[in-house]
């Protein structure tokens, strides 16, 4: 576990949840608030270890539920499940390709709210759902898909800025040096 990376991911998770509560722009424009936590979970699952995924699911889920009317803790399992499924195959996924990031962001953004709604309905709650929820689901999925490559780019920039610079091997090799002086042979 890289402590700095884990800290950055968790801090970004908090900022994302906070931003969703104070920026009503997407809801007023598109009819749905876009959730960036699933996109962040995709990044964590592909670039970090499973413990960071778990911490993000717990802290992000609890934070989201504390600021909403959800029962506290209900978002933890859907977030963890999305992260877990991606992390299981993270070695086989071409994580640097924006298209892969887009598709995984779409899948996670579609899966998480659907699972939360299923859990809420199973728990006897009455969330506000109807035919319009399908439009909201599409907006959330598309918004999460578009945001995921941006999240990857942001963390890539953070890595380059805050991490140690990559050590490049010099092209000079002493054993390949051509010596021109006859006397030295």
């Amino acid at each position: 576990m890289k402590p700095l990376q884990t800290l950055l991911i968790l801090a970004f998770g908090f900022l994302v949840v906070f931003a969703e509560t104070v920026l009503p722009g997407p809801r007023n424009l598109l009819g749905a608030q876009i959730d960036l936590l699933p996109g962040l979970m995709v990044y964590a699952a592909l670039n970090s270890d499973i413990w960071t995924v778990m911490l993000l699911a717990i802290t992000g889920g609890l934070g989201f539920d504390a600021l909403s009317a959800n029962p506290p803790g209900i978002s933890i399992i859907p977030l963890m499940l999305a992260g877990f499924l991606i992390h299981l195959r993270h070695d086989l996924i071409l994580r640097s390709l924006p298209f892969a990031q887009f598709m995984l962001g779409a899948a996670a953004s579609a899966l998480v709210p659907a699972l939360v709604l299923i859990l809420l309905l199973n728990g006897g709650k009455q969330p506000l759902i109807g035919w319009g929820s399908l439009w909201q689901w599409l907006v959330i999925t598309a918004g999460g898909a578009l945001a995921t490559p941006v999240i990857f780019a942001f963390f890539g920039w953070c890595d380059r800025t805050l991490g140690y610079p990559e050590i490049k091997e010099p092209s000079f090799r002493p054993d390949r040096e051509i010596l021109r002086d006859r006397n030295k042979l």
């Binding site: 499973i50 717990i58 609890l62 959800n70 963890m80 109807g130 319009g132």
Partner: protein, 267 residues
């Protein structure tokens, strides 16, 4: 070993979720309070940033314009004082008549201004948080309104903040009265997740004759909302269940998508 570690983490997360979900209501609300308090510095920063442009604009306003503004406010204040005197006289007369008929006296409404701190991030709830709490005398089920009309009711109260359930949330149903000659009464509930300005008015009698543009106010039934708070206007109506009942759509007076300040009403 690799897979075992993954399943261990999954199990731990599920265990934490199960523990939190099975907490009793009091512990759950305390946990919500603790977690939401982690965001307090961010809310403070956001509030300061929100007020910064207004403060800068205030400082940049010319003195002449400010004096003009003060003069117009003084005139408006004088007019309002005269109206208040008239209203007081009407109130006294009303009280006298009520005592003649042994009717209960009407208590004047008290209002407290609150700032909207945040909105629900989930798409399946319509709630907001305001910056008044138990220290300001707030309690559950107090009506919340703007100058345009009813907005919702207080759902839960903490020391310095409260959660308000807005009209249109499945947990906020209001008994509403249409201001037509028949004084039809129905139940106002959500019409769908997309348009927050339209609500369904149902359980009206089959012979209700509603027309677009008629005012809808609170009926006073149900014990939460006092009678006569404006809600909205009828958009259209249709006969339901083979004429057994009538349903209508109501456009809210208050814009729920642009709430900035609200009034909490102490009946």
């Amino acid at each position: 070993m690799f897979k075992q570690k993954n399943y261990l983490a999954l199990g731990a997360a599920v265990l934490v979720a199960a523990l939190v979900l099975s907490l009793p209501a009091s512990a759950s609300s305390r946990l919500r309070l603790v977690v939401s308090s982690w965001f307090l510095p961010l809310f403070g920063l956001a509030n300061a940033a929100q007020h910064l442009p207004a403060d800068l604009a205030d400082n940049a306003l010319p003195r002449g314009e400010l004096l003009n503004l003060i003069n117009s406010l003084r005139q408006e204040n004088d007019q309002l004082k005269v109206r208040q005197m008239q209203a007081d006289a009407v109130q006294r007369e009303n009280d006298q008549l009520r005592s003649l008929y042994d009717w209960q006296h009407q208590m004047p409404w008290r209002l407290k201004l609150a700032n909207v701190v945040m909105r629900d991030p989930a798409n399946w709830w319509r709630t907001i948080q305001i910056d008044l709490g138990t220290r300001d005398g707030l309690r559950e089920n107090l009506p919340v309104l703007t100058m345009d009309g009813l907005v919702g009711r207080v759902a839960s109260v903490r020391l310095t903040s409260a959660q308000v359930i807005l009209l249109g949330d499945p947990n906020c149903r209001v008994s509403a009265l249409v201001e037509d000659p028949a004084q039809d009464i129905g139940i106002l509930s959500s019409s769908g997740p997309l348009d927050s300005s339209l609500l369904d008015l149902s359980y009206l009698t089959g012979d209700a004759n509603l027309k677009p543009g008629q005012n809808v106010v609170t009926s006073g039934l149900g014990g939460i909302f006092p009678k006569g708070i404006p809600i909205g206007r009828v958009v259209d109506a249709q006969s339901l269940e083979f004429g057994l009942s009538t349903g209508a759509r109501v456009k809210l007076n208050a814009d729920l998508g642009a709430l900035d300040k609200v009034w909490v009403l102490f009946p």
